[in-house]
Amino acid sequence: MIKVLYFARLKESLSYSTEDIALPPGVTTIAGLMQHLAARGDAWSAIFTGKQVRAAINHTLVKNDAVIKDGDEVGFFPPVTGG
């Protein structure tokens, strides 16, 4: 299982912020997970094919080729706008 968290615009589009899913067969990277989630259609498709989405694994910002392991916490969010 992995935990997936959504923030800001993404959270609002989905109307929820977190889900626990089994790492789907063949999915090993952030790019793979994004493709898998986008295939759900509707809001998911819009999130992962539209504006830029950033990803973190276990609280560290990563690129899309970063490898996901079972037990990881994955966060998806838009470019940051704090400060």
Partner: protein, 152 residues
């Protein structure tokens, strides 16, 4: 090194004073206070909502402060960032840096702000007369950060 992500307001004077008096040899404290502007990109702002990623945000701010500490000869840093619903003229963020000399304290404080703006997971939603919308990231913030990479 202090990092706080909190809903409550903060007192910049108190934080500057505690940095000033905390370490022997402090000669300079440089600080930055950011607040909610009443106007952004031409629209009147009635409220700003700040969301963050608990756990990751604190870790990101600590990492930025540590990078500053490794890069410049500074003594200590304080970073406080608020979340939740804020009104115009409410304080958003404080970054304060103490050091023996001014030049390094200035550089470190600006470096922390530039990295915070582009790396720390915070997201702003603005409320105007037209409704609410998520603030878009600015290219000028990426440019500000890239300067430090070229500088190194």
């Amino acid at each position: 090194m202090t990092v706080r992500v909190q809903r409550e307001d903060f007192n910049a004077g108190t934080e500057i004073e505690s940095l000033r008096l905390a370490a022997a040899g402090v000669g300079a404290v440089v600080s930055f206070v950011g607040q909610v502007r009443d106007v952004n990109d031409g629209a009147n702002i009635s409220m700003l909502t700040l969301e963050y990623y608990p756990g990751m945000t604190e870790k990101s701010l600590e990492s930025i402060a540590e990078q500053a500490k490794r890069r410049w000869n500074i003594l200590d840093t304080v970073i406080i960032h608020r979340y939740g619903e804020l009104l115009p003229a409410d304080q958003i963020v404080l970054v304060a840096v103490s050091g023996a000399h001014r030049k390094e304290a200035f550089a470190a404080c600006e470096f922390i702000m530039d990295y915070l703006k582009t790396e720390a997971p915070f997201w702003k939603k603005e409320k105007t007369a037209l409704g609410e919308h998520w603030v878009e990231a600015r290219d000028s913030d990426d440019t500000a950060r890239e300067r430090w990479i070229a500088d190194q």
